[in-house]
Amino acid sequence: MRVPFSFYVIGIILMSGCSNLSVLDSKGTAADSELKLLYLSIALMVIVLLVVFSLFIRFLIKYRERPGQENDFPTQIEGNKKLETTWIVLPFVILFILAVPTFATTYQLDNKAESMDEPLVINVTGKQFSWVFYYPEFEITLENEVKLPVDRPVIFNLHSEDVIHSFWIPQLAGKKDVLPHKENQLTLTPLETGTYDGKCAEFCGASHAFMTFETTVVEQETFKQWTNVADKQED
């Protein structure tokens, strides 16, 4: 049978690849609130799947044609008002449970920049096929790598020199498109030190696959020292 077998497959895959599921292993504020909704939606959807699949399997077994029934005329019914109302109303309830936190979190994520305390501003320029990070506060420029202090809010001002790119650090935050004619903002606060992969998620040409960068989150003290040293090197 296919149903149990595919669950078995899922199990194996989850066990073998768990540590690499970067979206589920969030280390930043934005990714955290996104992950909470992800779990909520999975939980609700698992309920839906269980209901549908158990009815599905039950009906298939119970009402299969058995030998000798070939010339039967089973009773024909038009429908059932109560049942039909049930499966119109219940989805609304599920969607309501899902919609409220969705809307709240969307507003919160999109309007974070105004309420931030001393954010670190970084201007990001995407171009075929690399990323340039500029820290106006320290006048430092980095290519294909970015350094962030832990626990300090960051604002990325995103801008593209050519085609549309998309800025994505799965463990810290979801995507934001990088447009050639308009500046977009992405805000987040890294919560743990470490090295995280960053990538371009919007198809942008021949070497789209190689348009990656490395994000390093360090202790605030280390970050301060680094900015001092980097500043001096620039001079």
Binding site: I13, D162, H208
Partner: protein, 649 residues
């Protein structure tokens, strides 16, 4: 001679292989046609205005495109089978050409026309009509689709394929970033094919509104017909939006307008227009499949469709909401939060009518006598697959979580669950179901089951791991990925699954070959064990050119089933036999297609003489058509009577 040889040796090996195999196949086909003196037979099909023949050509041609785009899918999977892989020539730009044409061909030249073809055969039969409303336009739709299809397929060997993705986003698709003819093929080829689709939509609307048999009220139409009716309305609106978008892109590329560039113009205009088309397109290719499943599940369960009115209402609601959700493809663009929220809400709402449909299908089976023949297996496989695709769809509507899923492999998994799960399973189900009606022969059931299980299991192995790849942070449309992120194992499973699906399609082809070769005819009106419920099962298989010798009188939603329950063998037909008026066959649509093809090449390569010549051919033929006086042919009463009596016995 030497120059020619040099040119050929300079070609990359894959294009050379494509050229050679194309020439070999063309030679073999010409040889076979000549040997069996079948050229005249072929011309008869090309010039036919019979909706059944046109539908069958639609199915055949889109199946050929399906093979081509399927081979591309296998090449994509080969390149992605291992981390840091270098398969053949498909890295970087060549890989992008693969993914772009795979998507474009599968959506526009496979999913859409497969269903249009099937419905072309079935809808007139289901409503008791002798043909569609505009047989000439029907033929023209077909040849415009083939013309546009040839154009997009030929790009591979002539000038390079489109390489900006099947969504062809500006500014990447503009001259600055992808110069050359490659990306010209996309808007021009799709424009030609799209014109044909719009005409097809209008044709279906008028046919269903005006050509129904006496007593076939709206609320008595079979679900396939209902679905195609709503789909046709979606086609007219959505493909018009696409036509505008393609026109802007064409102008931008050929004449340097600055509508879609950043700065003076705005590349987001393309995204809006494309998705205003693109999301209804999902329903254009899903609704007819829903219709097919409704008919199949009801027939093979021996039960009346549960909640018919709510099924119709759900289709209408899905069609309506389908136009109000397009921004969910653009959540990460950075539009205002209020807009995002509105579209998240409408997207979630679509789950309600879809849920109605799923539960009605389940409860149709309850209390029935379910048979597991291949059409039903595909319908059941659809329910299993589509529910998974549906719940991931709801997950994608959760905006903040979508920031993570968007443009990752999670989306690739979701869209294949929905499109293969509904459209391709639907077409397989419908083809197995109506094959005896179309050709008077059953497809082999044993091979059908092999076909279903390999394709179905292969499908889940291919696409289920992609959900997880997405959560591991693998973006779409990358031609390689680094080692040591755990992606290698999942990708390898996915590649194996893809080959299993390929084997499934191979079983299907073998099945068609064996069935066509076999001489065992099945001329039963209702070959599915007398379980038929609707009008198409009341006439001979295959139906005569005029379908109905006398018109049926429809008194209920399921006239044939009602007749069976009352102990009759068939329904009542009304009136006396009379001469039947049928449309002439015509070669004009075929030549108009050629005219468009010539013109399109002119536009693609910006050689204006050729473009003008091609358009001149088109307008000349339109002129001829306008002044042509052809009043159709009459099939005499005696012939009709004799044939009808013959079919009775």
């Amino acid at each position: 001679m030497k120059a020619l040889l040099d040119y050929f040796t300079s070609l990359p090996s894959d294009i050379l292989l494509a050229d050679v195999s194309f020439i070999i196949i063309a030679v073999i086909i010409c040889y076979l046609l000549t040997k069996h003196s079948k050229w005249e037979w072929l011309w008869g099909w090309i010039t036919s205005t019979d909706h059944k023949k046109i539908g069958i050509i639609y199915l055949l041609v889109s199946f050929l495109f399906f093979i081509r785009a399927g081979i591309e899918a296998l090449l994509i999977r080969m390149q992605l089978a291992f981390p840091n892989n270098d398969f053949w020539v498909f890295q970087g730009d060549r890989f992008n050409q693969l993914t772009s044409t795979h998507g474009t061909v599968m959506i526009f030249l496979v999913a859409t026309p497969l269903l249009i073809g099937l419905m072309n055969v079935i809808v007139p039969l289901q409503i008791g009509a002798r043909d569609v409303a505009f047989p000439f336009m029907n033929s023209l739709s077909l040849w415009l689709f083939i013309s546009g299809g040839i154009l997009i397929n030929v790009s591979f060997v002539a000038g390079g394929s489109p390489n900006a993705g099947w969504t062809s986003y500006a500014p990447l698709a503009l001259n600055d970033y992808t110069p050359g003819p490659g990306n010209n093929y996309y808007p021009i080829g799709l424009q030609v094919a799209g014109l044909g689709t719009i005409m097809g939509g209008i044709n279906f609307i008028v046919t269903i509104l005006k050509m129904r048999a006496p007593g076939m009220r709206f609320m008595r139409m079979p679900l396939s017909t209902w679905a195609m009716f709503i789909t046709s309305i979606l086609i007219v609106y959505a493909f018009s939006a696409l036509a505008v978008a393609l026109l802007l892109l064409t102008f931008e590329r050929l004449f340097g307008t600055v509508i879609l560039t950043g700065g003076e113009g705005n590349p987001i205009i393309w995204q809006h227009l494309f998705w205003i088309f693109g999301h209804p397109e999902v329903y254009i290719i899903a609704l007819p499949a829903f219709g097919i499943f409704s008919d199949v599940i009801s027939t093979f369960s021996k039960r009346k469709l549960f909640g018919y009115p709510s099924m119709v209402f759900a289709i209408i609601l899905i069609g309506f909401l389908g136009f109000m959700v397009w921004v969910h493809h653009m959540f990460t663009v950075g539009l205002s939060t209020n807009i995002t929220i509105f579209f998240a809400l409408t997207t979630m709402l679509i789950a309600v009518p879809t849920g109605i449909k799923i539960f009605n299908w389940l409860f149709t089976m309850r209390g029935g006598r379910i048979r597991f023949d291949t059409p039903m297996l595909y319908a059941l496989g659809f329910i299993f697959t589509f529910v998974i695709g549906g719940v991931t769809g709801v997950m994608l509507s959760v905006v903040p979580a979508d920031y993570q899923y968007h443009d990752s492999y999670f989306v690739v998994a979701h869209l294949h669950y929905v499109i293969i799960g509904a459209t391709i399973f639907g077409v397989f189900s419908g083809v197995y179901y109506w094959w005896p009606k179309m050709f008077g022969k059953f497809l082999n059931e044993k091979l059908g089951k092999w076909n279903f299980w390999t394709f179905g299991i292969g499908f889940h192995f291919t696409f289920f791991p992609m959900h997880i790849m997405g959560l591991m942070g693998m973006p779409r449309r990358v031609f390689t990925y680094p080692e040591g992120e755990g992606l290698g194992f999942l990708n390898f499973i996915s590649t194996c699954g893809a080959f299993l699906m390929g084997a499934g399609v191979l079983f299907f082809m073998i099945n068609i070959y064996i069935t066509t070769r076999s001489t065992q005819k099945n001329t039963l009106r209702d070959p599915w064990f007398s379980r038929g419920r609707t009008l198409e099962w009341t006439i001979p298989s295959p139906p005569p050119p005029y379908n109905f010798a006398r018109l049926p009188l429809v008194k209920s939603r399921e006239p044939l089933w009602e007749a069976y329950e009352n102990g009759y063998k068939n329904i009542d037909f009304i009136g006396e036999y009379e001469d039947i008026h049928m449309p002439n066959s015509t070669s004009l649509p075929f030549f108009m297609g050629i005219g468009f093809l010539i013109a399109s090449f002119g536009f693609v390569f910006e050689i204006w003489v050729i473009a003008i010549m091609g358009m001149a051919v088109v307008f000349l033929l339109m002129g001829i058509r306008s002044f042509q006086h052809k009043s159709g042919i009459h099939i005499p009463k005696e012939v009709v009577m004799a044939e009808d009596k013959g079919a009775e016995d």
